[in-house]
Symmetry: C2
Subunit: 314 residues, 2 copies
């Protein structure tokens, strides 16, 4: 029987995503080094990550023992070289800018082990572009988490055409060990899966508010207490499949698609929101959420944690 | 202090939606009469509703005491007159066909008390059309639940231009007492709120599978383990608001909208799926879910109940 040995992980970038990754990984008891060219930001991240990791224990999502081991092994890299040179997995979490990321990944490659796997956390850039300055593009892939990284389980893995399958398998394996739900895309598409679905939802949600059909907070409540609950238990395709109560897709799909034609015809398709509509939307959001945003955040996070715990148990 | 007196409720239609309403209401201990022109269907519904109500007790979503009271008062109406004549709230749950519903509502009006409120469960028809044959269109509104009615909390209340505000208030009040999350639309829009958002999601989900970007089950998992969880804790507008970490909408919205323009430009906009694509989609769904659909349904429901319980507690 082979014992699992946790990979040594380096995270480049101490912003929200980098700190989220560090929280997740340290809370699992795995060794992490965090590096940011802005040394002050990196040093500040230490306390922030410490707090976030301990919060996971309070929330019942991590154990004291693993957290103690993780925090003991957590370090801030004094240089890129020092952070990266012994890492098995390097997570790039820099600014969402192609040129910046390309240069950063090139620097990483100079100091990383040949066998290291490099994943970019980019939500919108793809490995096929990110690898432009690399000699070893086969070691690079995108692994895009949602925020907060330590809470939302899904991670979109997007290999580029040159990515080595073993790198995909390694990252998928590690993510599963971290309790994540990695999803491997079969090709690079703009916005990946989640970005596209979220954009479709957001556009319609904006349109409904601007049309005066519903207030911002009622719309949010409708989604929360309705389709979001249904989809958290079974995604959109499964929901339709199950609502057909055992009939084969060939039996229900045609009818269901036909019923949707008029509706699809009527959905929002604009791609740019005029200034006047922007102001209208801003006022509607302010009216809905003018209360303390820290209180809204705390309430949201407590609902999220309750749901995550429920999913874990079921 | 005034005691709450449960309304007497009549449900017309013993299909999935009618049985769902009956389950919800009987489980709360309120008196319900169920009527269906097909007497055999109505009689069969009795056992079915009994089972579903008792299941809510097992799931921790209803108490023995309330359920006993509700089932004791539950009856199958021998005629429309007998079911409806003493009802305070009449829930129409007939077939989704405008002419059929118009005639049914006309018949209901003939035998109902003048003070009764009538709600249609229609997902796609509006009170302004449904009331065509009524002398008292002010007593009619749409109250559209999702399925399973006794589990998913949201109910879309859609008044027509003629609906009396007191009817809206009564139905909203009763739904809240039943533990529902009623949302009142400010105007009639095609597909209401949830139908439109779900249609936008489904179109993009179909497009992504047909494009070969992801498999059906991975897409479902991505939504379940990602945005659906996030949205169940805070709807789409709130999610964006909170991700801006305390900045005012006027500060983040313009940037965020700008970042979405290309993505919106690239989303699926077709309204009709060609036969060849339908076959491709059917095969993809079959490949994903060829296993026992009862097992899939049971697993989905158990996740859903776990999440609902978590939401209730948090």
């Amino acid at each position: 029987m082979s014992m699992f040995v946790a990979p040594r992980i380096a995270i480049i970038g101490a912003g929200e995503t980098g700190c989220g990754w560090a929280t997740l990984i340290a809370a699992a008891g795995w060794p992490v080094a965090l590096y940011d060219a802005n040394t002050a930001a990196a040093e500040e991240a230490r306390d922030h990550i410490n707090d976030r990791v301990r919060r996971l224990v309070r929330l019942g999502l991590a154990t004291d023992e693993e957290v103690a081991r993780g925090l003991e092994q957590f370090r801030i890299g004094r240089s890129l070289l020092q952070a990266v040179n012994d890492a098995d997995w390097i997570i790039e979490a820099g600014p969402e800018d192609l040129t910046v990321k390309q240069r950063l990944l090139e620097q990483v490659e100079h100091v990383a082990r040949l066998a290291a796997v490099v994943s970019s956390s980019s939500s919108s850039l793809h490995a096929s572009d990110l690898c432009a300055r690399l000699r070893r593009p086969d070691r690079l892939l995108v692994a895009h988490p949602l925020r907060p990284v330590e809470l939302i389980p899904v991670v979109e893995i997007v290999p580029g055409p040159l990515t080595a399958p073993t790198c995909v398998e390694d990252v998928r394996f590690w993510l599963r060990r971290l309790g994540r739900a990695p999803i491997v895309l079969q090709k690079e598409v703009k916005g990946n899966i989640i970005g596209r679905i979220s954009a479709a939802v957001w556009r319609e949600c904006i349109g409904l508010v601007l049309e005066g059909a519903i207030s911002v907070e009622d719309l949010d409540r409708a989604v929360s207490m309705g389709p979001a609950l249904a989809w958290s238990a079974g995604g959109p395709h499964l929901t339709h499949y199950l609502s057909a109560r055992g009939r084969a897709p060939s039996m229900y799909l045609n009818t269901m698609l036909g019923q949707h034609e008029d509706l699809w015809e009527s959905l929002a398709t604009w791609t740019k929101l005029e200034t006047e509509d922007q102001h209208k939307l801003i006022r509607a959001i302010e009216r809905a959420y003018e209360e303390d945003s820290n209180a809204l955040l705390a309430a949201r996070d407590s609902r999220l944690v309750a749901v995550l715990n429920a999913m874990k148990r079921s």
